[in-house]
């Protein structure tokens, strides 16, 4: 497909009904499809479309719920032993929600056409679902005893207290 990116096209090779033809320069697919929309942007939106779009966004936001639940169940099934697989699993448990939350802006882009569309709440919901997995991951870490959550986790490197007196045994 790489040759499609260049704008070289032999006119002799142009055969009707072949798909890999190049759109002419300046051709915009969106304008071609909906010329009215381009002409009158201030026209009020169809309320139904907006509600459907909003609904779709919510569906998108709650879609990972199943996957997160599955992950947590699997992690729970794995037990608290520290082996290579449970380490991978826990790492995944922590890293995937983080990356999903970080990239949530791309999942819920601001729609310039539908300004009144609420992307923030579904995005927050999406983040909340992933945060649930993150919290479960942390809980998993804690039950694997990998979180420095008690004072005893800090004490083991405490230096041995010095003695004020020195006795030498000549025995």
């Amino acid at each position: 497909m790489a040759d499609l990116k260049s704008w070289r096209l032999e006119l002799e090779s142009l055969i009707p009904d072949r798909k890999n033809q190049i759109d002419p320069p300046g051709y915009d697919f969106a304008i071609a499809r909906d010329p009215i929309g381009m002409i009158s942007t201030n026209k009020p939106r169809d309320r139904n479309t907006l509600a459907r779009k909003q609904q779709a966004l919510y569906a998108k936001a709650t879609a990972p719920l199943k996957q997160v639940g599955m992950m947590c169940f699997m992690a729970w099934m794995m037990g608290n032993g520290i082996q290579i697989f449970s380490i991978f699993m826990t790492f995944n448990l922590l890293s995937s929600p983080l990356s999903a939350i970080m990239s949530s802006g791309e999942v819920f882009p601001r729609d310039e056409e539908w300004k009144q569309l609420d992307t923030l709440t579904p995005r927050a919901l999406y983040c909340l679902v992933h945060a649930g997995q993150l919290i479960f991951g942390l809980y998993k870490l804690s039950s694997m005893r990998l979180l420095p959550s008690t004072s005893s986790d800090f004490i083991s490197t405490m230096p041995v207290p010095a003695a004020l007196e020195a006795a030498y045994t000549a025995l």
Partner: protein, 979 residues
């Protein structure tokens, strides 16, 4: 994807490498070595029928060596402290008396019988009774101890007659003359005669012998009679034996008349079949005299041999009766003479080169002098009689001399190692120094071949010949014998001090001697200690060699790499104790060890007089101005009292320090064992975190002393069982050595010593004997700080640099002692703890068993918190606790000494390496054993024989596979597109 597989592969390879538990057969000897010794021979005799020579040695070993190469055919070691040893001629056997037992071994090493000694104390005399033509008296052995006499049948050890008690035999010198015993005190003129076999003698009455001159300790007996030197060493007094009766008066002959050539000094007297052999006991005027003596005629000089320093026993050959005489030249060459005892004629005179020294001999030692000489005869091919001699030299060499050549020589100088100490080797300056140091530079081909063979063996594609070649190549390519230090700190110099007065440096790669320094018996050192080490690599470490007995006490500093003497200081006082101080003093890049010398005092009442070594203003400041008061604790001589002294500055005193009595603790019984913490022991953490995240603070007081007291070892018990045994109690006491305060005390009823104790970190382990079961009991104690309401704040710890407060013995800390007892199948005679650089690695206890082996016991087996139930909770399992069992586990794979027996093992020396997982272990006794051990397995290193070729092959294979697969997938995709 291929990357992930690669990581997995590497991880699994590492996991396999780290998980290797025990040693495989082909790994034995790759980094451990074992040196068998027989000891410095004091008596020797050639085997009557086999090509062997049998010896009895200073190290209480009896054994036989192969005549061809000097290899040990067999050997047996009597328990510590052999009182007497005898080589009997008929039957040809060896008899030892040790630890209240007489044992007889035949010349094949089998113990024929053993019997308890007749007396309870005092020196033991073993004597073979002459047969005297009477068949009933053949093969009998007389055992004399402390005025009691027992005659034993040599064939089975059965007693012949009852034990005779003869108080007249409690004299300085006891001799067996014919069928009678003769006893006298040195300097007296009277001798008591006790007939040994009353029915043969005809009379049981003791008789007296008189001498015109007082007698000295130099005396001998022969079938012909009795001879003794007069106490002024000028005359030889003889009493003849005729028909089993000694002449009632000794006749004395002036030695000057007999031997006009001699200068006249102390002589050792030995008997020959036709007279006496006198050997000068004065090293300044060596010489030997053969005298002939027959009843009715005066003593006659057969021959005088000037310069002879050693003589053998008389040997009967086809050509007559002969003795061997030996002379040592100034350059160490040996001259052997074989002389007839009946005529005094020299039948053979041979010269031998000096016995080769092992390693470099430092200093200007005198040529080694013979300690023992044995003569053997053999028949040559031309049917004439040839002679061979075994000579044992005071340098520790044992050599077989025959026909002008040294057939073999053994180095036995390291058979009596008393102290050992690890030191760093020199750093490699360049590659050439490595070569000079003895390392073989193997070519690349050999290395590649080694790796290929290793891969083949690992994949089991090898032939037996290839496996053999692999082992050989491993030896050739191993860098363990280089005389330079390595990155991991595995290669070290092992400095040893022997009781025979040798200080030597041994390479820990194969146990070869690098240098040795010999001292005469009156200057033999008694201490070997670290002195100075340097952080920079240009300087060699220095060691301190000390002799403590006054007069003649001294302190000498030697260069550990060359053995060169750097400094020598005679000490005008006797040194009772040498106390190392901790921490050592830092002087620039040097770390200087400092010692307090406690002067030997006659009475134990006065505070000890102290001296410093080195005694410099810096060391005085270091002792007293280290911002902490110093104390000294010692056991009052001859008592069971521990005394504590505080050290105070005394500018007027020569040492600048005086000891003032601070406390004393009197123990009702005798002190059986003491153990204290090594102050230089690295401790990683001062707390123990339990599985429920609660914190236990370890009690890490460096001034802690463990004292075990109880009835003295060997003391008789009140009763045989029941109530009587319960009265015998072993008490374990934990003392604070600064204040003398008893921190904890616990008693074991029905227990007794000997006790072996070891104290490491916050744990004590001690072994005692349970009288009723007769079993060995291990008692483990763990000490924790039990200060109520002790809280730990993370914020305080993180942000307050002064959050760890120093502890003082004067502000008492309550302690919590967890304790648990176990039966032990091992009977330990000594114990040590493994030690690693940071102290992170779990420790193992190295128990020196009475079977001369070292057993490595994991600390978790003696954890006092082992729960008394079979089903453990998750938390308990997580903590690594093991269910309690009354007997400690015993695994044959846990012997640090592998399948070896370190004869007479005396002590274990542990040294950390630079790898946290690994430490070096040296076990010494008559034998030497060295190995490397990783108590928690080698978690930070690959095995020495890790096959890099296989890893490389796997990597290349994977990379190649990935390239091929990529190409193939591209082709397949292209093919699909074109469809």
């Amino acid at each position: 994807m291929s990357e992930a597989r690669l990581i997995l592969l590497v991880a699994s390879v590492l996991a396999i490498a780290g998980g290797a538990a025990a040693l495989f057969e082909d790994q034995a000897g790759t980094y451990d070595w074992y040196k068998q010794h027989i000891g410095v021979a004091t008596e020797a005799a050639f085997h009557p029928s086999k090509p062997r020579v049998c010896v009895a040695t200073q190290q209480s070993v009896v054994g036989c060596l192969n005549l061809r190469d000097g290899a040990i055919a067999w050997r047996k070691r009597a328990d510590t402290g052999v009182a007497a040893m005898l080589m009997m001629s008929s039957p040809a056997t060896m008899v030892t008396a040790a630890n209240r037992t007489v044992r007889m071994f035949d010349l094949e090493g089998n113990q024929k019988w053993q019997r308890s000694l007749p007396g309870s104390s005092g020196p033991v005399l073993l004597a073979e009774l002459p047969d005297g033509g009477d068949t009933s008296a053949k093969g009998r052995l007389a055992v004399v101890q402390g005025g009691t006499v027992q005659i034993l049948d040599a064939s089975d050890g059965s007693p012949v007659g009852d034990v005779q008690s003869e108080p007249v035999l409690k004299r300085d010198i006891v001799l067996v003359v014919g069928p009678a015993l003769v006893a006298y005190d040195v300097g007296s003129k009277n001798m008591a005669v006790v007939p040994l076999i009353p029915d043969v003698q005809g009379t049981a009455a003791a008789q007296e012998l008189g001498s015109p001159l007082p007698l000295s300790a130099f005396a001998t007996s022969s079938p012909a009679g009795l001879a003794a030197l007069s106490s002024d060493l000028s005359a030889l007094c003889v009493s003849h034996l005729t028909d089993g009766v000694l002449e009632s008066t000794l006749s004395c002959t002036q030695l000057v008349e007999l031997v006009p050539q001699s200068s006249g000094g102390p002589w050792r007297v030995a008997a020959t079949s036709s007279g006496f052999l006198l050997l000068s006991a004065d090293p300044g005027a060596p010489g030997a005299v053969l005298l002939s003596e027959e009843p009715g005629t005066p003593i006659k000089l057969l021959r005088y041999f000037p310069d002879v320093v050693s003589a053998s026993r008389e040997v009967q050959t086809e050509a007559g009766r002969h003795v061997a005489l030996m002379h040592v030249d100034a350059d160490g060459r040996l001259r052997l003479m074989v002389a007839s005892t009946s005529t005094g004629d020299v039948t053979l005179e041979e010269s031998f080169p000096a016995v080769p020294a092992h390693g470099r001999v430092v200093g200007q030692p005198d040529p080694p002098q013979p300690i023992a000489l044995a003569l053997g005869a053999f028949r040559k091919k031309d049917k004439s009689t040839g002679y061979r001699a075994l000579v044992s030299l005071d340098s520790g060499s044992l050599a077989l001399l025959q026909q002008g050549v040294i057939v073999w020589s053994r180095d036995e100088s390291l058979a009596s190692v008393e102290e050992a100490l690890f030191a760093d080797l020199p750093a490699a300056a360049s590659d050439s120094s490595v070569l000079e140091a003895g390392g073989a530079k193997a070519d690349m081909n050999a290395r590649i071949r080694y790796q290929v063979l290793g891969a083949k063996v690992q994949l089991k594609l090898n032939t037996p010949a290839e496996a053999e070649e692999l082992l050989q190549l491993r030896g050739v390519l191993s860098d363990k014998n280089l005389a330079v230090r390595d990155v991991n700190g595995f290669r070290k110099l092992l400095l040893v001090r022997t009781s025979a007065g040798t200080v030597a440096a041994v390479h820990n790669g194969d146990g070869r001697k690098i240098w040795s320094r010999r001292y005469t018996p009156d200057t033999a050192p008694t201490h070997l200690l670290p002195w100075r080490s340097y952080h920079d690599i240009q300087h060699a470490p220095e060691v301190l060699v000390m002799r403590d007995a006054a007069p003649g006490a001294y302190a000498t500093v030697l260069n550990a790499h060359t053995g060169e003497q750097l400094w020598h200081q005679p000490l005008p006082y006797g040194v009772g104790k040498v106390v190392p101080m901790h921490p050592p003093m830092h002087e620039g890049s040097a770390v200087q060890s400092t010692y307090i010398l406690v002067e030997q005092l006659a009475n134990g009442e006065a505070p000890p007089a102290l001296h410093l070594l080195p005694d410099s203003p810096a060391s005085r400041t270091h002792v007293l101005a280290a911002q902490r008061p110093a104390f000294l604790v010692q056991q009052a001589p001859g008592t069971s009292t521990l005394q504590g002294f505080s050290l105070a500055p005394a500018p007027g005193r020569p040492s600048g320090v005086i000891a003032q009595p601070a406390w004393q603790v009197v123990f009702p019984d005798s002190i059986l064992a003491l153990a204290s913490r090594d102050p230089s022991e690295p401790i990683q953490s001062s707390v123990k975190v339990l599985s429920d995240r609660s914190i236990k603070y370890k009690y890490l007081n460096p001034n802690l002393l463990f004292v075990a007291s109880g009835p003295a070892t060997g003391a008789a018990l009140d009763g045989s069982a029941g109530v009587g045994t319960l009265a015998s109690e072993v008490t374990a006491t934990l003392l604070d050595t600064v204040t003398g305060r008893v921190l904890h005390r616990q008693s074991h009823a029905g227990a007794r010593g000997p006790i072996t104790a070891v104290l490491a970190e916050h744990a004590v382990l001690y072994f005692f004997t349970d009288i009723d079961t007769g079993r060995q009991v291990a008692c483990s104690m763990e000490l924790y700080d039990a200060t109520p309401g002790r809280e730990f704040s993370v914020l305080d710890y993180l942000f307050n640099p002064n959050s760890t407060l120093p502890v003082s013995s004067f502000s008492a800390t309550p302690i919590e002692v967890l304790t648990q007892s176990y039966y032990s199948r091992l009977v330990p005679t000594g114990a040590a703890v493994t030690r690693t650089e940071q102290g992170i690695t779990a420790k193992q206890l190295l128990l020196l068993a009475n079977t001369d082996q070292v057993y490595a016991l994991d600390r978790r087996w003696v954890d006092p918190r082992r729960p008394k139930k079979q089903k453990l909770s998750q938390e308990e399992m997580e903590e690594g606790l093991v269910p309690y069992q009354d007997t400690l586990p015993f695994s044959p794979l846990s012997f640090t000494t592998l399948d070896k027996q370190v004869l007479g093992a005396r002590s274990v020396r542990v040294e950390p390496t630079r790898l946290e997982s690994t430490c070096l272990v040296f076990v010494h006794g008559v034998d030497l054993f060295y190995t490397r051990t990783a108590p928690a397995k080698g978690f930070d290193s690959l095995e020495d024989d890790f096959n890099y070729a296989l890893l490389l092959a796997a990597l290349v294979g994977l990379a190649g596979g990935a390239v091929v697969m990529q190409y193939m997938s591209k082709q397949a995709l292209l093919g699909q597109r074109w469809k």
